[in-house]
Structure formats: C-alpha cells, structure tokens
Symmetry: C2
Subunit: 158 residues, 2 copies
DNA sequence: ATCCTTATTGAAAATGGTTTTCATTATCAT
DNA sequence: ATGATAATGAAAACCATTTTCAATAAGGAT
C-alpha cells in the first residue's frame, strides 16, 4: 500500500488526528519541507526553509513538531556528532531510497549509502521479530551508522 | 591476539603514545573506570566514579579524555535520546560481550542485546569492506540501534 | 455560523550538557 | 636536573534545545 502524503486522506493528517493531535498549518508546512528534501536537515535548516513562505512560524514550533513526528515514528532523529540533531522522514513515509549513514568524525561529512541493503533488511526483520518477542519491545525505528575518516581526511592525516 | 589493558605493555599507554599523546594518571584512572563497568556511562558518571579515589581530577579532564578515546576509536559514544552522551569501551578493548542497544523512547531504558549477533557481524564485515573500498572511508566504529517502546511503556500506552 | 474548551503557538527566558579560556602543573625528551 | 610544551582544573562561555506564559487557532458542540 503506497503512502498517501496528501491532505485529507489517511496520510499525515490522519496520523496526527489518530493520536489526538490537531492538524495545523505549521505542521503541514513543516512536513512539506521534510518531504521535499533529499537531505537530513537540522531544526534550524527546516526553520529557515519554512520561514521563506511562512515567516510567522517560529523555531520553537519546528522543534515541537519534530518531537511529535519522532514520537509517532514518522521521522527519524540522528546524531552525527556535531551538536545538532538531524531529521529525516522515516523510510515508509519517504520517497527516498532506503539507506544508512557513513559519518566522517573529522570533517563531519555524511554519506548516505544504499549498498548491501538487501541482506540488512532481512537481518533487521529477523532481529526485530526476535527482540520484540523476547523483550516485549515495540520497535519504531532502527538505525545503522558507521563512522571513521572519509577519503580526504584520511589522506591529510599523515 | 588478546587485548592487554595493563600498564607499560602495548596496551592503552601504547595507544596514547603512538598518537603523540602523553600518558597521565588521569587518563589511566578514567580508562580504569571504563574497563571495570558493565554499563554505558555518562561523562558525569565517570567523573563521580573517578572522584572517589582521585578528587583532584576534574570533569573537564574527563570530557577531554573521552574525546581523545573516541577519536582514537577506543571508546564509543552513544546518544540514547536523553541529552547526555554515554560512553563504552569499543568491543575490541572490552571484556563485555558484543552487543547493541534497544532504547525506550518513553522511559529511557536501554537494553543491551546480544542475540542475532553472528549474522550481523558477518554483514558488518562485508558492508564495511565494500564501503571503505567504494568511498575511501576508514571505518572506526559501527553501531546498530533500535528504538521504540519497552514492555512497560507499551502497556501503559492505552 | 457562533461559542467554548483547550491544544497550539511565538517570543523571550531558562536550561544544562559540553567547550573554551587561561593561568598553573605535570610529562618526558634532552 | 632542565626546558619545552602537553595536560589540567576552575570558572566562564557556548548554544542547541526546552520551558514559560500570554495570545491565538482548531474543531466539537450549539
């Protein structure tokens, strides 16, 4: 079943209402920004993007909306080691390819990789089933992250 | 080759010297604390543990030492969603079993799981080789993290 | 449509883990 | 021992994120 991001349908709005939250312009706009980028964004990135067309929407609202989205499992929150969190639509709600992150600890570069994903998806499925059974956990999100030195930084490091 | 944590040998001290750093009492003590716990600790946890026997060692030094250890790949830094980072010896330098983390977004509980590790180790090895070849990355650490709701929080959530 | 309850919001202030600064001390090659 | 300089502690600064609080907007009931 394809994901319907549009208004009115069982999409984003339905998720909010289903959890007892109201559907507001701010929320719609913030989701619109997240939907239309191919990059992980910080709260401030999102705030700036939103601000162009909706200057009345404040940074606080961006943070609050992101918190809700993360809680509902619609958005993933990442920590790449600089001090600001990055956000991405969860795979099920995104048009972006399934991927994980490769982070350079020196320069901060982040590569989205999509290789070797098939085996990984299968492993996740199996692990997830086992873990939720054993620990009674309801798993909402999963992440793999490699870090080290990217090509450039590796070379400079005499 | 087993890891020699002891003084003098090619262990911790050797790592520091090899990177051009000095070997100090603070560093030795902080590593001692990390080595003797089975839990991921925050900088402040470590500070308190260290403080009992070495009240002269300050929190700043703990942070600085942890940064070095993370940079050298000897320690892993985790973000479990509360706002403080947690630290653990990297697997190669720890007596603790290979494991990953299962984080409850509601109550913050973290479960270390060791199931399904064999397939995962193999997948990591393969992925890592492919990625470092394709992107020129030197990978220093790898993490998998699941999050969602633990058994208790799941139940309370009517 | 109009009320009314209450969730949502923006601006400003507060928070608090982590970093910086800087003067002092410890390490270690010579 | 000596000197160069890396490491350290205390206090101050930093800054992403949260909290506060009064004003506004959503949406069910009327």
């Amino acid at each position: 079943m394809p994901w319907r991001g549009g208004k009115g349908g069982p999409g984003w709005e339905g998720h909010f209402r289903g959890c007892g939250y109201r559907w507001t312009v701010s929320r719609e706009v913030i989701i619109e920004v997240l939907s239309s980028t191919r990059h992980h964004m910080s709260a401030e990135d999102i705030y700036h993007a939103v601000h162009k067309d909706y200057p009345a929407i404040g940074l606080t609202t961006v943070y609050r909306t992101l918190d809700l989205l993360v809680d509902m499992g619609l958005v993933l929150k990442f920590d790449f080691g600089d001090k600001r969190a990055r956000y991405e639509l969860a795979e099920e709600f995104s048009t972006k390819e399934h991927h994980h992150h490769l982070v350079c600890n020196r320069c901060g570069r982040v590569i989205d990789y999509t290789e070797f994903i098939d085996d990984e998806v299968e492993l996740f499925k199996k692990t997830e089933k086992g873990l939720s059974k054993k620990y009674g956990f309801q798993i909402k999100s999963r992440m793999i992250q490699f870090s080290g030195l990217c090509g450039n930084c590796n070379r400079e490091q005499k």
